[in-house]
Symmetry: C2
Subunit: 410 residues, 2 copies
């Protein structure tokens, strides 16, 4: 089955918004045995939108559209599809009722113009959108399908996961399931050699990919349905896990922060931070995980030197070794443990900005970890590609270090 | 002049990489008087790439391609364009020399296969790429132009700024320059009315846009060159600034965190935070600004309730009013000031997760600000679109509140 994705909206076309929807949809199609041919972006322009929809209808089996479902005159997706299919728009009373309830639930009346969002055509059924006012459209005609979803990513992804994906899975004649094992501490080449014996299989097939958070191993199998595909993956995954052991830190959508959360919970350990150069970014990454409040005590973001001293880093240490030093990072890790009464403490001090500090180059990061026996682990790096990258890299290093510590103590 | 953008690469098409190049290019075209018609993504597939290039050549005056310029067999952009234009690829000796020097500069020999990147066609001249091995192509024929740039954004944007944009500016018969004034605290409709008298001008033209960080007013002028356009903008900008006054928090690429940093510095004030639900995200946003260490003291990320108490929030307040309450937020703001010895303190407590806490719905956020006279400002919101969105929204609310406080005290 051939598919294409059309992202609709002048703001997308003009680059005022980056189109993340197309990538989201594209990345989820292989599992349903759907081949991606094209993605394109078009403005809220009836002629060009119409041209693109016609071409897509002629060359693809399934078309995914996002955007242009708002209540204003600019929003033309419904009108253009209706015209392209030569069908008439009508107001669907059930949808109008849902809209009225949506607005009432938020304590207001529905503006008249929103009624436009309750429109359907004969070949379309509405797709529920609990996060917004625009329902999607699922159009089927002449063995072709058009799936229309709202543009805001939070509405689109929710609709995809709850409404669109399950339906695609039902319709699929074969399903591709992938399992990604995420590793750290082993280079791409070495890992490739280690799992060499597994690489010759074609179903499941195995691929090795270097990513920012480590090297990923992807095992993909095709089957008549999800269960059959999983049965093919299972023995290969078991072998891969045996070979790779502790270098695997997580699988599939799991993040490093999530995997660390699991390890902390499993070991009944709590964590506290003292961050300087990362300015709260490490704490923010750890608290992206649901349930993190059970192991994450907090972070003392001590941007100013006096804040470090108030938080328990001795001024003698800072004077003797400098703020940007192994000694200060270690003192911060220990102080974080004490202040936040956590089992493990991490301290980060360094230079996120583009200028030298205390004779050390931009991008220098000192990271220390202290555990409840006052064992200290330490790491430092010097590498500069701008402020954001420096913060991100330090967060990743700290997470990797923490994970390795948690593995080792078991 | 009509333009389109084609992003080439299977990883882009399959959504493994989000295409940021298309948005980058699109957002920079209006200034040269170039109209964007379409953007599209296509994989490293010769037939489909060829189809797209043919169609673009027929309907557009200028085509911007990115990607597919690597040294491997998958990289087909050069071959496909040559074929589409019915021209022959040849190896350009000057380019080959540049490539050899590039590799030597990094202490290695050039692999033979990289020679492919020194290829040109008769209608193309090479565009320098000091950040990578693939030069771009500037193709001119039959009054049409194709600009081909490498896919990695760091190479592409550098090439754009240093090589492509200056050339487009030279060729442009008129230049569009925009100045964006960013406001907060005024609704889109009200703002529209306020600047109503200015809206009738066509050159410069004025547009009002609701954005996540407030309402933006964009003044755009067309002139024979940049200087002429700026001269048209200047008086209208002055008028708009007079009308909008303090609601303007910044212009063009400035961020809310950056504008707040400026105000804090100007007033010689320091800031300290106590964050719970945002988990360090507010601190991280404030420290994205170079020089933030001069006014940002730090943040105490008190995820655990006991961490709040240790940091100076009284357990009586928490027991009496709950953790998720105005009272606790206020106590956190005051404690942040005291602990971090800052002039201004902000406290945030709320629910980033998807479940009810203390009978309050997901997304509830209580935000309080305390200044050095212990004046308290408070705000709360209830709105849930997922964990990330809840954190982001609270950060934005806190920044807006802080900015308003800083404006008012002047």
């Amino acid at each position: 089955m051939k598919a294409e994705v059309i992202s609709i909206g002048t703001e997308i076309l003009l680059g005022e918004i980056v189109d993340t929807n197309a990538a989201f949809i594209a990345s989820r199609l292989p599992q349903f045995g759907i081949d991606m041919l094209y993605t394109s972006q078009v403005g809220d322009n009836p002629d060009r939108l119409s041209e693109i929809i016609h071409r897509a209808w002629n060359r693809s089996d399934i078309i995914f559209c996002t955007g242009g479902l708002g209540p204003t005159e600019d929003d033309l997706t419904r009108e253009t599809i209706a015209k392209a299919l030569n069908e008439t728009l009508y107001q669907d009373e059930a949808q109008a009722e849902i809209l009225r309830n949506f607005f009432q639930g938020r304590g207001g009346d529905m503006p008249e113009r929103n009624l436009k969002q309750a429109q359907l055509i004969k070949s379309a059924r509405a797709i529920a959108n609990p996060r917004g006012t625009a329902p999607g459209w699922w159009v089927e005609r002449e063995n072709k399908t058009i799936v229309v979803m709202p543009g805001p990513p939070s509405e689109m992804t929710r609709m995809w996961e709850h409404e669109v994906a399950p339906h695609l899975e039902e319709k699929a004649t074969s399903i591709l399931v992938s399992r990604t094992l995420k590793t750290s501490g082993v280079g791409e080449g070495t890992l490739d050699e280690m799992i060499g014996p597994l690489l010759h299989s074609t179903n499941p097939s195995i691929g090795v990919y270097a990513r920012v958070d480590g090297v990923h191993v992807r095992i993909s199998a095709k089957g008549k349905n999800r269960q059959k595909a999983l049965e093919l993956i299972e023995p290969v995954e078991r072998e891969a896990r045996e070979i790779l052991g502790d270098s695997i830190w997580g699988s599939d959508d799991e993040s490093l922060s999530g995997s660390i959360g699991r390890l902390l919970q499993m070991n009944n350990l709590t964590l506290g931070l003292m961050e300087s150069a990362t300015g709260g970014a490490l704490a923010s990454s750890l608290t992206d995980i649901d349930g993190s409040s059970s192991y994450f005590k907090g972070s003392i973001v001590t941007y100013a030197t006096e804040a470090k001293i108030m938080a328990g880093v001795s001024s003698e240490t800072i004077e003797a070794s400098g703020v940007i030093s192994e000694e200060t990072a270690t003192a911060m890790a220990i102080a974080a443990r004490t202040k936040l009464q956590s089992d493990i403490g991490i301290g980060i001090t360094g230079i996120a900005g583009g200028e030298e500090v205390e004779g050390q180059p931009p991008g220098t990061m000192h990271i220390a970890l202290a555990d409840e026996k006052n064992n200290i682990t330490y790491s430092h790096s010097r590498y500069y590609q701008g402020r954001d990258a420096a913060k991100r890299r330090a967060v990743l290093t700290a997470l990797t270090m923490l994970r390795q510590h948690l593995i080792k103590r078991n």
